[in-house]
Symmetry: C2
Subunit: 177 residues, 2 copies
């Protein structure tokens, strides 16, 4: 699972994720701590609310989305560090038993103005349920380091090979992937 530098991200790249099922108990436990409103903690009371039944807090869906991201295969060097989030929406409630997974797409990647050694990668992240219905959408602005100068002309797979094989010779003309 290679780490990725700014130079490895390109507009249009898409990513999937594993899946997480969310139980009624998890919904109620999260809400009891962070969002104790009737529609998130009390199944009977929830029926007469806007949600017409128990629904996960939107912040619970956001937290589960983060877990799916952390467990997914794309690893920016330095970790998943958010500079911010745009247009966070919850188009449909998450219900007990729903199984969530992610559909992500890179929509921008550029060098940071304020942090020259870093870039900002914008990723549109859609959380869908088991019926492929979006339950959350947002755009994440991720802070991703630029590839260190010593790596600039060497592909990542080759560097891994170097590390694993103890070989330090850099092939002439090797370029970043």
């Amino acid at each position: 699972m290679p780490v990725r530098y700014l130079e490895d991200f390109a507009i249009g790249q898409t990513y999937g994720s594993g899946a997480l099922r969310v139980s009624k108990e998890q919904i109620r436990r999260f809400a009891a701590e962070f969002d104790p409103q009737p529609f998130h903690v009390d199944e009977a009371a929830a029926r007469d609310t806007f949600f017409t039944g128990l629904a996960a807090s939107g912040w619970h869906t956001a937290a589960l989305t983060m877990r799916l991201l952390v467990d997914s295969e794309w690893k920016p060097a330095g970790g998943l560090i958010g500079a911010g989030v745009e247009e966070l929406r919850w188009p449909k409630p998450v219900r007990p038993g729903d199984e969530l997974r992610l559909q992500s797409e890179v929509i921008d990647a550029r060098v940071s103005k304020s942090r020259p050694g870093h870039g900002v990668v914008k990723v549109r992240i859609t959380t869908v349920n088991q019926n492929d219905e979006p339950v959350q959408t947002f755009i994440a602005n991720l802070i991703v380091p630029r590839r260190p100068a010593s790596h600039q002309r060497v592909g990542h797979a080759y560097l891994r090979h170097v590390k694993e094989q103890g070989c330090s010779q850099v092939p002439v003309g090797a370029v970043s992937p």
Copy 2:
């Protein structure tokens, strides 16, 4: 603690909140479940990261902010229901022992185009630490019901009086606050 309808919100209104202290154990427990990256779970490993020390997951800060909102004194009728969030930022890390509270300001209030019985109230919500430094900012779009027709010409305080006193006579000329 009166509930508030759309008609009770006006641009420029400000609100405070109680305070919540966040411990190292809470930071690590939230992160272990939702954001298990070294800078959120491992104090030693966190030193060599972007955060230069243990920091709460941004989604933990968001969840704590929701708890402060739910416990605060302004109660939209129907509950705190977010249609979405704009410009979520984490300008400064939340550290173990930090005490968080909110500064909120209504920046827009209008009838919903898609839900005529409801409105959307935009609130800029700033989470600050014990040094008054913002650690999170966002704009919440809240779905708030309009005052029911039978209440339209009656101030809220009067209606509460009616309920408490069993008086049903509506004064001529009473208007919404």
